[in-house]
Amino acid sequence: MVTTSPGLHPLRATDTALADADAVDATLAASGDAHAFERLYRRHVGRVHTLVSRMLGEDADDVTQEVMIRGWQKLPTFRGESAFGTWLYRVAVNVVLNRRAQVGRVRRFLVRQPEEPLERPGREAPVGAGIDFETALKGLSPGARRVFVLHDVEGYRHEEIAGMLGIAAGTSKSQLHYARMALRRHLE
């Protein structure tokens, strides 16, 4: 049996069983059961870390930990309207964006350095440039990287991404296009 969940790839039956376990543990954790929250942590930490690292373009153990702590703090606001994983990944995106905003403010204050320009590869760009795909992903501008990760890696729609990132859906489409065009040069 295949079901769908907004912003995620299609779920299989095993995923549905996990979603049920998540729902039970989320309810227990919201009432203060730390063991239930640990089970949620074990099931989701890998994907949260992957998402956070790719969005930031760097390894992000500390941010992942912050996401999990924020998830615990915000559990009372989890209504079960979406899968727990979907909810937690949104928490992760918010933590990443808040951190990005903080870093940006500090950088502007200290060095008045402008934001990294959006990469705009031309159609004539050569294919294959000798670095792996993950490394190439890190080389994208922050905006293009975030949209690419959320759309092509995590499966969110442009409307959802626009809501999460606070941008227009058209901007999300443009960023995705630039990211794809840049990354095609790094296909093995």
């Binding site: 790839h9 730390a34 063991h35 929250f37 640990e38 942590y41 074990r42 930490v45 890998g46 994907r47 870390h49 992957t50 690292s53 790719r54 390894d59 153990d61 992942t64 930990q65 999990m68 702590i69 615990w72 703090q73 159609r123 294919v127 795909f133 993950e134 690419f148 092509d152 890696v153 442009h158 489409k173 443009s174 995705l176 296009h177 794809r180 065009m181 990354l183 095609r184 296909l187």
Partner: protein, 214 residues
């Protein structure tokens, strides 16, 4: 149809174009090798993105999360004994050692009385002296052994041990100050000896743990 822009090709892949535009572009792709090639690359980028593997954190982040949310980290499986069992063993060790020291103290006092050396009162009464015999060396050895093996203990156990050792050290310092002020006080000297033995017992217990955990 003129060549579509790469942005249109990207939107085509995501089915973001109007149905008529979608059909028109599909027809163009059937007859245009250049656009079909670019489309193939974009498809491969998407396939590559979907195939990216999960990257778990390098270390288990749960202890940090648990500490931050006020939860107690789960007990590590590598320790074969429970904390109550270890505490019971430690208390038994202290009691047995205390009884032996008291017995030895009485023996020593009787020997001292027999050979009758009343001229210079000892700085430390007998109980404390006996407890102190070889004490510093034993403590040094155990501390060195513990320092080598502490990496095999989990952080919660290390924290409990350090707290206990700090308490015992403080008690020893207080007893030493009291004894310096009142060298003839038998109660204080006995208390000092017992406290030193307690430290010895704790260190033995801790080093034993490092062996259990290795």
């Amino acid at each position: 149809m003129t060549h579509p822009t790469s942005k249109q090709l990207s939107d085509f892949l995501d089915r973001e174009l109007a149905p008529a535009e979608q059909a028109e572009l599909e027809a163009h792709l059937a007859g245009c090798g250049e656009c079909a090639a670019l489309m193939g690359e974009l498809r491969r980028v998407i396939a590559r993105a979907e195939a990216l593997e999960e990257r778990p954190p390098r270390a288990d982040l749960w202890p940090g999360v648990a500490a931050a949310i006020g939860a107690i980290p789960p007990a590590p499986r590598r320790i074969a004994f429970s904390i109550p069992q270890l505490l019971a063993a430690g208390i038994a060790l202290v009691v047995i050692t205390g009884v032996m020291v008291r017995w030895l103290s009485r023996e020593r006092r009787s020997v001292v009385a027999e050979i009758a050396q009343p001229a210079v009162p000892p700085v430390l009464p007998a109980g404390a002296r006996i407890a102190a015999h070889g004490y510093a060396d034993a403590i040094r050895e155990l501390e060195a052994e513990l320092a080598q093996g502490r990496g095999r203990l989990d952080t919660a156990t290390v924290r409990v041990l350090e707290d206990n050792l700090a308490l015992v050290d403080r008690a020893i310092q207080e007893a030493q100050r009291a004894l310096a002020a009142d060298p003839g006080n038998a109660y204080v000297s006995g208390h000092l000896a017992r406290t030193r033995l307690r430290k010895l017992g704790l260190l033995r217990q801790a080093t034993a743990l490092t062996h259990v955990s290795s």
